[in-house]
């Protein structure tokens, strides 16, 4: 699987029995459908989190391609109403893409999913003590 930004091969990281895909070159993170299920537990809940994002209208950022199907992903606004961050979501439901900078803004949101499992895991995995 290649990075959606710089096309370098991505590596898979496993911690606490959860996997994420990571680009060592540009520090982008890919969470695929199965990985989101692992993080958020129930499939239904993972679906709800993915569905809750709103599609960003007239966004200037260039579209990224899904690392799985190669189709253009859509820009979505994630997070609660007041504070949102821009992510890329595969239209076919293959997963979510975080640019290196987007991770920090997701972490600052805190309430990403109802229990905050996703930000806390990403914080543990990707921020060095």
């Amino acid at each position: 699987m290649n990075c959606a930004v710089c096309s370098n091969p991505m590596i898979t990281l496993e911690l606490d029995q959860v996997e994420t895909d990571y680009c060592l070159t540009c520090r982008g993170i890919w969470l695929d459908k199965g990985e989101l299920e692992q993080l958020l537990g129930d499939t239904l809940q993972a679906q709800q989190v993915l569905q809750s994002f709103q599609i960003a209208q007239d966004c200037k950022e260039s579209p990224r391609r899904c690392p799985i199907c190669g189709k253009k992903m859509e820009k979505v606004l994630a997070g609660p109403e007041s504070k949102t961050t821009l992510l890329d979501r595969c239209k076919k439901g293959h997963g979510l893409w975080f640019d290196s900078g987007e991770l920090e803004s997701v972490l600052s949101l805190g309430r990403f999913d109802s229990e905050g499992k996703l930000p806390s895991y990403l914080k543990k995995m990707y921020t060095r003590k």
Partner: protein, 402 residues
């Protein structure tokens, strides 16, 4: 059983012949239209036959390899999935296959399976990683028995050859239709109006050729799909008999039906090979379906509470589909096949750990390296990773990849 195989063989030959006729007709009319005379048509038949002959020879010698490669199936050793090998061996013995089929795993989360090959001596069974993670032993056995039945019924060669023929018809039509578009464009640009050579006769032939080029692929596909549907029922009947446990396949089909993700590695030509239509969710396939309705197949299998013989299947096939029987009388021997109790082997296919284990398995098959960082993070490095070092994003430790 033997008559059934015989009928299947005869149907295959009939189908291949009629597909060959379509191909020849296509070659004739296209060449006649381009050349402007019926004599040119014979050359067209010659070219079409040559294409067909080459493709048939290729598919006969290495069609299974082409299909497996285009489905991105990787051959596996027993250590990768011992249970799968165990079940295939069990079904091989039950069906009396002369040789153990080769086993492949397709790295795809959509649960599906297919069998291919030339004959029972040279057969292969491929299952997706998604199938292995979602099914328990009885269900997996049902699916494998279905595929082994395809091998026993000699469906595998038919599917390979029909796929290649269909491919040829599509190829010739496409080349002609595209050629038409380009030649008409250049004609408009470089020749004055009204200077066409052939006159009314050629125009008519041209029209016919265009019509045939559009219709032939559809017609061939319909033929192919109509016959492949019947084969699915027959393989289900065979699977119930081999496993003596129709519920296994029924619940496997149910699980497969629940998944509506289309397979990435399947296409229109390979679709009829699979146990369930891999392209569900893609709209254009509603026009002609490659597989019988999965609910009907499940209902027939679930009705079989008294026995698992072909006659039992036939009985409920009639009552569920309201169609005349499909298994020939002679195959419906008086044998009684009693239903066996479910397997006691406990598996928890829904557990996330098992799904992750499957992912790791596919990575090992595909040549990934596994590095464990002192901080506890496992780094899974793809074979095409360019540099020799990888830094753990969790603790910053630098690990050597080579």
């Amino acid at each position: 059983m033997w008559q059934q195989i015989h009928i299947n063989k005869r149907n295959s030959i009939l189908l291949l012949l009629s597909m060959g006729l379509v191909l020849a007709a296509l070659g004739y009319i296209i060449a006649a239209a381009i050349g402007g005379s019926p004599e040119a048509g014979w050359l067209g038949i010659l070219i079409a036959s040559a294409i067909w002959l080459i493709m048939t020879l290729v598919s006969f010698t290495s069609g299974d390899q082409i299909l497996l490669a285009s489905s991105r199936a990787a051959p596996v050793t027993p250590e990768v999935h011992p249970q799968l090998f165990n079940i295939v061996e069990e079904m091989k013995i039950a069906a009396g296959l002369p040789k153990m089929p080769k086993i492949y795993i397709i790295n795809d989360p959509a649960p599906n399976a297919f069998a291919t090959g030339r004959n029972p001596q040279n057969a292969s069974v491929a299952v997706t990683a998604g199938l292995l993670t979602r099914l328990n032993r009885d269900e997996l056995q049902g699916v494998i028995a279905h595929e082994v039945s395809h091998i026993v019924h000699r469906d595998i060669l038919f599917v390979t050859l029909a796929g290649v023929l269909l491919g040829s018809v599509v190829l010739i039509s496409q080349v002609f239709l595209r050629g038409m578009v380009y030649s008409s464009m250049s004609a408009r640009r470089y020749s004055s109006r009204g200077s066409s050579r052939g006159g009314g006769g050629q125009a008519l032939l041209m029209l016919l050729a265009v019509l045939l080029a559009i219709l032939a692929p559809l017609f061939t596909q319909l033929l192919y799909f109509a016959l492949s549907r019947r084969r699915e029922y027959l393989a289900d009947a065979g699977a119930a008999r081999l496993t003596r446990y129709p519920e296994g396949l029924a619940s496997a089909l149910e699980k497969i039906a629940q998944q509506d993700i289309p397979m990435e590695s399947a296409n229109q030509v390979t679709a009829p090979m699979y146990i369930a239509n891999p392209l569900r969710g893609k709209k254009y396939l509603n026009l002609y379906s490659t597989h019988p309705p999965i609910e009907q197949r499940i209902r027939i299998l679930r009705n079989m509470s008294q026995g698992a013989s072909l006659a039992d299947y036939e009985q409920f096939y009639r009552s569920v589909t309201h169609k005349a029987g499909m298994i020939p009388q002679s195959a419906l021997s008086k044998e009684t096949v009693s239903i066996r109790p479910p397997s006691t082997e406990k598996t928890d296919p829904s557990s996330l750990n098992q799904i992750r284990a499957m992912g790791d398995l596919m990575r090992k098959v595909n040549g990934f390296k596994f590095l464990t960082c002192p901080c506890g993070v496992i780094l899974k490095i793809p074979p095409n990773f360019p540099t020799g070092k990888a830094q753990c994003p969790h603790c910053g430790h630098v690990l050597s990849v080579s």
